[in-house]
């Protein structure tokens, strides 16, 4: 039996109280209790923790290690009530299996009960029976671990796993996007945007949203995985919620996804910003896109797609990336082809003509467009996501004599 994991957990706990204890020492104590005295692993962990707490005179340590005050680790606990560093017994349904990240792992995936879902890992050394998706299991003496804010259930050699029969179907409930937290989550949301994928193994990435907020999503290439359709609403059960740099994202590979006929009014859906275009970024103007079905990535000047390599039969497109500034805040904006055409008065065909016949090529289109829009006042309507305004319409501001009169009045009034 391997005690290093438990020993590390105890060691980390003491680390938090400023006490460094050699995990080897802890491991020795655990081994002695479990192998020589036949003590249950959960009880051994509690006992060793208490022992060390006494030895180092740390009072509050004693209560944490055990299987809970009410009836020990054998009584099933709801997934939503579990907390890290806890020994638990639960009854749940395996709702997803994922490819194990290392040979030390026999199985990984998501297990759920009616309170929620949690990621799990069954160590190869645990010799636990192979679990199958959609079956229910009674799992005794597993450990809840936490890494980067994500709770995970560890099935180790001291854990018993038995298939069980449970009546009644598991009906997962969804939460508002704004309430998601790292771990496992279910949402009802609309696909509002699809991005150029940046990785060969990526099937699709983009933005999902509901009435409360938006979140990035990703689907990795895997047999049976399909792309979501932009503009459609889906019920997504048991996706993995990850956190990078303080921002959440959803990995949908574990999720059960069902299309929904309804619609959602996504938050941030109609923002209007009035201001001046103070910067037109490189990469604006006419661009070339990859012609491979479903790809559509912007190509480099050498017609190179990061996934499909050289693509001489590219497709032309227009876009403007820049900053819209209202004097208080600067908004990143992205204008797509139709908006660019109406704002600049340069159509895609005209831009193509310039790009192919002017000595400066595509740069000439950039310069002409910049000349037409930089420093101009506009009102943009669109959706603001992650500090970027995706513009649906962009109109030049016109001089309002009513506004002029009101300002004269205000400036001339008593000071």
């Amino acid at each position: 039996m391997d005690f290093s994991e438990t020993a590390d957990r105890i060691s980390r706990k003491f680390q938090k109280s400023g006490q460094t204890i050699d995990p080897k020492k802890i491991e020795g104590k655990l081994r002695r209790l479990i192998e020589e005295f036949g003590v249950q692993p959960s009880e051994a962990e509690r006992s060793v923790t208490n022992d060390l707490a006494k030895e180092f005179n740390i009072p509050q340590m004693g209560s944490g290690g055990g299987g809970g005050k009410s009836g020990g680790a054998t009584e099933p606990k709801k997934i939503a009530d579990m907390s890290p560093e806890e020994w638990v017994t639960l009854e749940g349904k395996v709702v997803a299996l994922s490819t194990p990240a290392s040979p030390a792992i026999a199985q990984s995936g998501i297990i759920a009960d009616d309170s929620g879902g949690i990621r799990f890992v069954a160590w190869a050394k645990s010799n636990a029976p192979a679990m199958t998706v959609d079956s229910w299991y009674h799992i005794e003496s597993a450990v809840v671990d936490e890494f980067k804010g994500v709770a995970s259930l560890k099935i180790h050699s001291g854990t018993t796993v038995k298939e069980c029969v449970t009546d009644g179907a598991l009906v997962p409930s969804t939460v508002p996007v704004v309430n998601l937290h790292p771990g496992v989550g279910s949402v009802r949301a609309k696909v509002i945007q699809e991005w150029d994928t940046t990785h060969e193994r990526m099937l699709q990435s983009g933005i999902l949203g509901d009435e409360t907020g938006t979140i990035k999503f990703v689907i990795w290439k895997e047999a049976g995985k399909e792309k979501l359709v932009v503009g459609s609403v889906y019920n997504i059960f048991y996706a993995m919620v990850d956190e990078y740099n303080g921002k959440l994202s959803l990995n949908l590979n574990t999720a059960t996804i069902m299309q929904d006929d309804g619609d959602i009014l996504v938050s941030g859906g109609n923002v209007a910003v009035r201001g001046a275009l103070v910067h037109i970024a490189p990469g604006s103007g006419i661009i070339k896109r990859c012609p491979v079905e479903g790809c559509n990535r912007a190509l480099s000047r050498q017609n190179y797609c990061p996934v499909h390599e050289i693509q001489p039969k590219f497709i032309y497109d227009l876009r403007i990336k820049g900053w819209l500034d209202d004097g208080e805040k600067t908004h990143n904006i992205l204008l797509q082809r139709d908006v660019v055409e109406s704002l600049t008065g340069i159509t895609l065909d005209a831009a193509k003509e310039i790009a192919e016949n002017n000595p400066l090529g595509m740069d000439e289109v950039f310069l002409q467009m910049r000349e037409k829009v930089l420093g101009r006042y506009v009102t943009c309507h669109g959706r603001e996501i992650d500090n970027r305004l995706l513009v649906n319409t962009c109109e030049r501001l016109t001089f309002e004599s009513g506004e002029h009169a009101a300002l004269l009045n205000r400036a001339g009034g008593a000071s």
Partner: protein, 200 residues
């Protein structure tokens, strides 16, 4: 309020860009106080407007009346941009070749929009600092854009004057301290005059 926005931006790990303030020439030229926020090399530098707002970037629209090429080794351009209240001094050097090329191409007189960083420049220790705007971007625009800018800048200036009267924001308190002899009422008057000059 502006301090708050920046703090939130940093906490996010995302970079909050400094907005381009709207200010008339008659106010910008009164700036005498500048400061850096933060200690590292890349922390932004601000000039403090007499109406109590910090300013790292400006958006100005006016008439380019003059431009000169200067320097032998290090070529740079200087220009004057006039609004209804006074003159902005702008410059673009080889450290920002694109801005310099943009300015080089423009024939004065012309309506221009300028995005740039204001800074205080002193000939020597004893002399009064002069405010000059280092150009990030410049473009020829139309008279409508100039008129819209006057409306926008008048509104922003009046907003700042209103806040100045009652606010306890550190920047406002600092402005009262470093510009004791400036009465913001002069900027209200300037805004009125600017408004009165357009679209008559």
């Amino acid at each position: 309020m502006s301090t708050n926005a920046r703090e939130i931006g940093r906490k996010d790990g995302s970079f909050e860009r400094e907005p381009a303030r709207r200010v008339f020439a008659s106010e910008l030229r009164e700036c005498r106080y500048d400061f850096k926020e933060g200690t590292d090399e890349k922390s932004p530098t601000f000039v403090l407007l007499p109406t109590g707002e910090r300013c790292n970037r400006v958006f100005i629209v006016g008439t380019l009346t003059e431009k000169q090429r200067q320097g032998d080794q290090n070529i740079f351009y200087r220009g004057r941009v006039v609004d209804p209240t006074g003159t902005f001094f702008i410059m673009a050097g080889s450290y920002q070749p694109e801005a310099m090329q943009q300015l080089a191409k423009i024939e004065a007189p012309a309506f221009v929009a300028v995005i740039g960083k204001p800074g205080l420049y002193r000939k020597d220790e004893a002399s009064t600092p002069m405010v000059s705007v280092r150009v990030e971007s410049i473009n020829v625009v139309d008279k409508d854009t100039r008129d819209l800018w006057v409306l926008d800048t008048a509104a922003r200036t009046l907003d700042r004057i209103d806040i100045f009267k009652t606010s306890t924001e550190p920047d406002v308190i600092k402005a009262k301290e470093v510009y004791p002899s400036i009465d913001p009422a002069v900027f209200r008057r300037a805004a009125y005059d600017a408004l009165a000059q357009i679209k008559m």
